[in-house]
């Protein structure tokens, strides 16, 4: 399969007070379209920095990043916003839903920035909510939903613009183990439908649901191995 992500010598330095922190010291790797990658590593290993660069939320200090056909490190901030809107979906540890805003409006949020008419926005958001099994709860506010349901709303939001890539930053970090497996089952299902998923986690058993595990330490990749993924859906039926 063609490489969706190509990074070459990717590095990021931060100025923390008077010291320069080398968060990422040169990472070179490819991720093919349709892969399910888990990124692991202790805190401070550079995995989050790597994710932020992949998500076009931050610009690298050095190195190159190619997403699909586009050289990302050359883009303006407006162009980056467009890439985030059209090609990338984000899932966060703490869901990051808008408070006191209905599930439907939360899911439709990215569409606000994509020049679609109101009716089209609502229709797409409803379709995505149905896909994550929350069609009945589209008028509920985040506070009226369980953690798992909130993360499903967040996943529906990540999918609503038909991205090629979903970046999940500790998506199960705030959930109990059974709900975590439910969320992983959902992500695996999306992956089977052709969406490339990059997942950051520090939990080994969560990483085992991915088909490839990349480990970071001190800003460099220390291990990059294929994995035979556990089937989350099957696990759910068993327990």
């Amino acid at each position: 399969m063609a490489a969706l992500i190509q990074v070459d010598g990717l590095a990021k330095d931060y100025q923390m007070g008077s010291t320069l922190v080398h968060a990422l010291r040169g990472v070179t790797l490819d991720i093919a379209a349709g892969e399910f990658v888990a990124v692991m590593g202790p805190s401070g290993s550079g995995k989050s920095t790597f994710m932020n660069l992949l998500g076009c939320l931050d610009q690298p200090s050095r190195g190159r990043y190619r997403l699909g056909e586009q050289e990302i490190s050359q883009l303006s901030s407006d162009a980056l916003a467009h890439v985030r809107n059209r090609q990338i979906g984000f899932v966060f540890q703490h869901f990051n839903l808008l408070a006191r805003t209905s599930a439907l409006d939360n899911v439709a949020l990215p569409l606000l920035y994509s020049q679609l008419a109101l009716t089209e926005r609502v229709a797409r958001a409803k379709q995505r909510l149905a896909q994550v099994g929350l069609a009945e709860r589209m008028d509920h506010h985040p506070a009226q939903l369980s953690g798992g349901q909130q993360q499903r709303v967040a996943i529906a939001r990540a999918l609503v613009c038909h991205p090629q890539l979903v970046l999940a930053d500790e998506p199960t970090g705030a959930l109990d183990s059974r709900t975590s497996i439910e969320i992983m089952a959902l992500l695996q299902q999306l992956n089977r439908e052709g969406i490339t998923i990059v997942l950051v986690t520090h939990e080994h058993d969560i990483a085992l649901f991915a088909s490839r595990i990349i480990s970071f330490r001190d800003g460099v990749v220390v291990e990059d191995k294929a994995n035979v993924p556990n089937d989350a859906a099957a696990l759910l039926i068993k327990t």
Binding site: G55, D78, R84, N96, A99, Y113, Q115, L118
Partner: protein
Amino acid sequence: MNLAATLRVALLALRINKMRSALTMLGIIIGVAAVIVMIAVGNGAQARVEEQIKSLGSNIIMVLSGSVTSGGARGGSGSQPTIYEEDATAMMREIDDIQAAAPTLRASGQVIAGNANWSTTFYGITPEYLEVREWPIAEGRNFETTEMNGSGKVVLIGQTVAENLFGAANPLDQVIRVRKVPLTVIGVLQRKGQSMSGQDQDDTLLMPINTARTRVIGVTQAKSRSVSSIMVKVKDGADMTQAEAHLKELLRQRHRLQPGQDDDFYVRNLSEILQAQEASSKVMALLLAAVASVSLLVGGIGIMNIMLVSVTERTREIGLRMAVGARGRDILTQFLVEAVTLSVIGGLIGIVLGVSTALLIAKLAGWPTALSATAIILAAGFAAIIGIFFGYYPARKASRLLPIDALRYE
């Protein structure tokens, strides 16, 4: 992000923080309402003052007889009678801006009633006189046409004269002697108080001009139609300077004065009062503008304050919006629209409140208020501008956040 969507997002955000939005709007509401009410009350008061100044005679031009020079000594005004009753009629006929012109004959002397006597000034007048001076009769009646034309032996007296000749007694139908001529009192004029020059205007006595001419003062044949002065009232809203110029031109023409020859009459008016009035209304307008800008400014600062708090509080929201594809300018527009929406809604409520308060004041307190469309439009426009002006800084601050920093903000 299109405007309809932005507006929807803004309204949603404002609804989520109902209480805070309402309190923020309150500043603008009070500002706009205060401006409207203040200007309405100010205009009303100004109109009333203008009316009062007018009654003092600011729209009156006095035409006096000229002076004569004999042996190098220049006599004072009126030393030679040069203006005539016909000049007054001609003015009314030929100058549009003139509402009325009242020729008067003036003399002074002793008046006697019973055993009381009093020295006063008396005037021979035409029916225009009371109109020009806006001087109503307190008791009794006005002259009748037959009395006017036929030198009737009747007289109207001022309050001061009435008090000095009759005390508390009723002066009506009493006979008084003016230079030995017996005249019947048919009415008493309303109290007018002091003139601008400090003269007691109520110390006077009015009789038909023909009575004065033929019976009381007695004028020589040559000056039979001459008068001491003509009091000219200019129409409301007409230009005093222009009316005066026309009047001078007419008189020069009628008196057959060659170009270069001096006027044989004097013209006086109370234009100083008019100028003072103009100056005072300018000060009034400035004062109102100052108060207006202060109250609206305070409202605007309130909006900026709240928007800044809102930007800080919603940093994570801004980060999220950026993560899902909002550009800096989308964020800028969103916060700007929120601020403008706040100020426009506040402005509209302020207009309603201001107009109803002004009407209520007029009704309950009995103050004259004059609602001005200009003030309303100005206040509303100001409110919107303030929304943009004070909303811009917080909005720009929000739009300049880096997505990663905003998203990580705790």
